[in-house]
């Protein structure tokens, strides 16, 4: 009675190996065809009126290793130099609910690749696609947008904010939405 049950359980388990735990990650999730779209956008970079966000899910948001790689890249590439661990400084805060250029993965991807006015450099070419998606996943985790069990825990360094995995999920307010909302 127990054996077939056990076999079935094992089989089911094998088929559903946990994606959250996979590492080192295989080739990145299929790149959304951003290059073509963004090529068009390159000409009229401006805040306000972002395109309707391409709601493409970033699979890395569910992978703990990719998120931790993103965190490590964020630190190593000195993103904190401007964004200061996400709390904001010279650059905008990334831990809060305000998104100037949109909170969707594709928006953040474009921000990293193309840069934004007022100081955000374009990292296109300097980063591989995979690295960018890892960073995108991590940046979203900074305001609690990803699964709690995949987001990073504390780092082995001075603590400036609670670990990503323990942050309240902020409901993103895109600047565009805020502008569109009737003022009261």
């Amino acid at each position: 009675m127990k054996k077939p049950l056990l076999c079935m359980l094992t089989l089911a388990a094998c088929l559903s190996a946990c994606y959250r735990e996979e590492r080192p990650t295989p080739p990145p999730p299929a790149p959304p065809q951003l290059a073509a779209q963004s090529a068009a956008r390159l000409s009229d970079i401006e805040p306000g009126a972002p395109r309707p966000p391409a709601a493409l899910p970033n699979k890395y948001e569910e992978n703990a290793y990719a998120l931790s790689q993103g965190k490590s890249l964020f630190r190593k590439f000195n993103c904190s130099g401007c964004h200061s661990q996400g709390g904001g400084g010279m650059g905008p805060a990334l831990m809060d609910d305000k998104w100037i250029y949109g909170s969707e993965p594709a928006n953040i991807y474009a921000t990293i690749i193309e840069g934004r006015p007022n100081g955000m450099p374009a990292f296109g070419g300097h980063l591989t696609n995979e690295q960018v998606w890892q960073l995108v996943a991590y940046v979203r985790s900074m305001s609690g947008q990803v699964r709690e069990d995949a987001a990073s825990s504390r780092s082995d360094e001075f603590q400036t904010a609670p670990p990503e995995g323990r942050r309240e999920k902020a409901t993103p307010k895109n600047a565009a939405d805020a502008a569109a909302a009737p003022r009261g």
Partner: protein, 634 residues
């Protein structure tokens, strides 16, 4: 010659009151120490086989240089799981599992103290093991080594839940191990047959007493360490974060303060498997009973004073290191004394080389090599060279297989007739022994050389030009032979269980009390509990001086005696079988597993765990009524 009390008699009333209830619910409610112990042994053996299979994949991968069979990710999980399984799910628990079967029989008791807690400890252990293997199958297998050094095992470098499952496994197994230690200590101190004063206690029971005390003092250390690790990972504490005042070496101290005594928890019980087997097959008592007991106690004490020899390569102070070298060398002395006593016993005995004896005697080769290489590792300077190299892999397998697994297999051959009523096949047994012995040495001896040639541990591959290929190939071949030996053991068990020669109560004409019970023992062990007057009651004239009368048969009544001299003190009634230990274990499992994902699980988990625990404790009206009828106040 056999005293009256030693003749097993059947007593249907007694059997019924000590039997486990029927049906599936009854199966889950079982609390008889033999039932629980049998499940415990089978479970630990299952984990042993699983850990062994992992080891075979490891050996397959390392058989050739630059092998691409498994990648680093899976390999790291493999060796972590292998180490964790063997240390936490096999080596320590199997010793306790055998003990909860044998100790009550050896001390002439009808049951074990706290039988429900015993069942609970088993279920907790089983669920912990299943949790770990479920995680492994789901690719959440821990991959930071069985020693989980932070920061590698910490939140930053081990993202995801892999190490959390490891840390929770520690909680499961330590909880189970600690409870078993309390049960064994109480059983040994309070349930001995009248007349079994402390200096008549069988050596094996002594070792379990000492081991249980070691468990109590050592295991809290790793529990504390792993709790700190898991809170570091889950709620952001800073125990191991040097930037916030923590220290990664703190983990190493706590871990090895447990980890080194653990080796002795694994190694001390088999010492007295040896003593039991050698006495029986030399047809004489072990020479130097007081020396043996004192040696075990000395070993246990010293075991707590040498944990730093695992950390010589860190920057602990030099003078401190010399102390630990001296302590590590000193622990060889009691072991040497024990070995000399056994040799003396052999030299003055009348020998009979049956399979259990072969396994026991292999100790003199394998453990001797392991012990001597241990002395090399204890030296600060030598250790700097061989530490974390394959030399250590060789050493620890010589100690743990030679010191624990070979005697354990001998013990299985020796007590199998007691467990099942049938003898194991002798021819298969000899094949089994020689294959294991040869396979073991072929597998592990070359690792000494590989280590000296500079091969580090825990590597998933090595470049061909290092020239380690041939040594590793030999090792892998040896591992295969060893595996065939163990396969033969399984075949032998399966065959003998059905069609082995019927054994009778005492097939080896041995001297200790467990052989006075039937094979397999009746649910209540002894229909007429004995009174003891000798260390080897079944050998000495008048060793079983008489019997205990007046214990009630229709309840689970045991005679509680005094600690030192085993003078009868009172009659206690052990509780009925109950499903609640199982349900409590389930609730605790939910708490532990859920707390990997959210710290709040500790709070609502506690709410979940409390009702079954209360139900477990809550007395039944009928049973209370029955007890009241025969109650005698102190």
């Amino acid at each position: 010659m056999t005293p009256a009390a030693a003749i097993p008699q059947s007593n249907p009333v007694l059997d019924r009151s000590w039997s486990d209830p029927p049906g599936i619910i009854g199966w889950l409610s079982a609390t008889n120490h033999k039932t629980v112990a049998m499940r415990f042994m089978l479970t630990t053996f299952g984990f042993f086989v699983a850990g062994g299979l992992l080891a075979l994949i490891i050996r397959l991968q390392l058989a050739r240089p630059d092998s691409k069979l498994v990648g680093p990710d899976f390999y790291n999980q493999l060796f972590t799981m292998h180490g964790t399984t063997m240390m936490f799910l096999f080596a320590v628990p199997v010793m306790q599992a055998v003990a909860i079967y044998l100790v009550p029989l050896m001390i002439g008791a009808r049951g074990i103290a706290f039988p429900r807690m015993n069942a609970f400890a088993y279920w907790i252990f089983l669920m912990g093991g299943l949790m770990l293997y479920t995680a492994f199958i789901l690719d959440i297998g821990p991959d930071a080594g069985w020693f989980s050094y932070p920061p590698l095992a910490g939140p930053e470098y081990s993202p995801g839940k892999r190490v959390d499952f490891w840390a929770q496994l520690i909680t499961f197994t330590e909880l189970s191990g600690l409870l078993e230690a309390v049960i064994l200590i109480t059983t040994i101190f309070k349930l001995r047959a009248p007349g079994m004063t402390l200096n008549r206690v069988p050596l094996y029971v002594w070792t379990m007493l000492v081991t249980s005390f070691m468990v109590i003092f050592a295991m809290p250390s790793v529990m504390l360490a792993s709790t700190a690790l898991i809170t570091d990972r889950l709620v952001g504490t800073h125990f191991y974060n040097p930037a916030e005042g923590g220290d990664v070496v703190l983990w190493q101290h706590l871990f090895w303060f447990f980890g080194h005594p653990e080796v002795y928890m694994i190694f001390i019980p088999p010492l007295c498997f040896m003593s039991s087997i050698i006495a029986t097959f030399s047809r004489r008592p072990i020479y130097g009973y007081p020396v043996m007991v004192l040696a075990i106690i000395a070993t246990a004490f010293l075991a707590f004073s040498l944990w730093v020899h695992h950390m010589f390569a860190t920057n602990v102070p030099e003078l401190g290191k010399s102390f630990f070298t001296a302590a590590s060398a000193m622990i060889a002395i009691p072991t040497a004394a024990q070995m000399f006593c056994w040799i003396a016993t052999l030299a003055t005995g009348k020998l009979n080389f049956r399979t259990p004896m072969l396994f026991a005697l292999s100790f003199f080769v394998i453990l001797l090599i392991g012990g001597l290489s241990g002395i090399m590792l204890a030296s600060v300077s030598l250790d700097l060279q061989v530490h974390d190299s394959f030399f250590v892999v060789a050493h620890l397998h010589y100690v743990l297989l030679g010191g624990a697994v070979f005697p354990l297999f001998g013990a299985f051959y020796y007590w199998f007739p007691k467990f099942t009523g049938r003898l194991m096949n002798e021819t298969l047994g000899r094949w089994n022994f020689w294959l294991m012995f040869a396979g073991f040495n072929i597998a592990f001896f070359p690792m000494h050389i590989a280590g000296l040639q500079g091969m580090p541990r825990r590597v998933y591959t090595y470049p061909a030009e290092m020239g380690w290929g041939m040594l590793n190939l030999i090792s892998s071949i040896g591992a295969a032979i060893l595996a065939i030996g163990i396969l033969l053991f399984i075949v032998n068990v399966l065959r003998s269980r059905r069609s082995g020669t019927p054994a009778g109560a005492d097939p080896w004409a041995a001297g200790t009390l467990e052989w006075a019970a039937a094979s397999p023992p009746a649910p209540g062990n002894f229909s007429i509990p004995p009174v003891v007057a000798s260390r080897y009651p079944l050998w000495s004239e008048g060793g079983v001086a008489g019997s205990v009368k007046g214990l009630v048969d229709h309840r689970r009544e045991v005679l509680v005696t005094s600690v030192l001299d085993a003078i009868p003190n009172h009659r206690a009634t052990l509780p009925e079988s109950s499903i609640w230990p199982f349900i409590s274990a389930l609730a605790v499992t939910v708490l532990f597993v859920a707390s990997i994902f959210t710290p709040w699980a500790v709070v609502w988990g506690a709410v979940l765990v409390t009702p079954p625990l209360v139900a477990w404790f809550w007395p039944k009206k009928a049973a209370t009524q029955r007890n009241l009828q025969r109650e005698v106040k102190p």
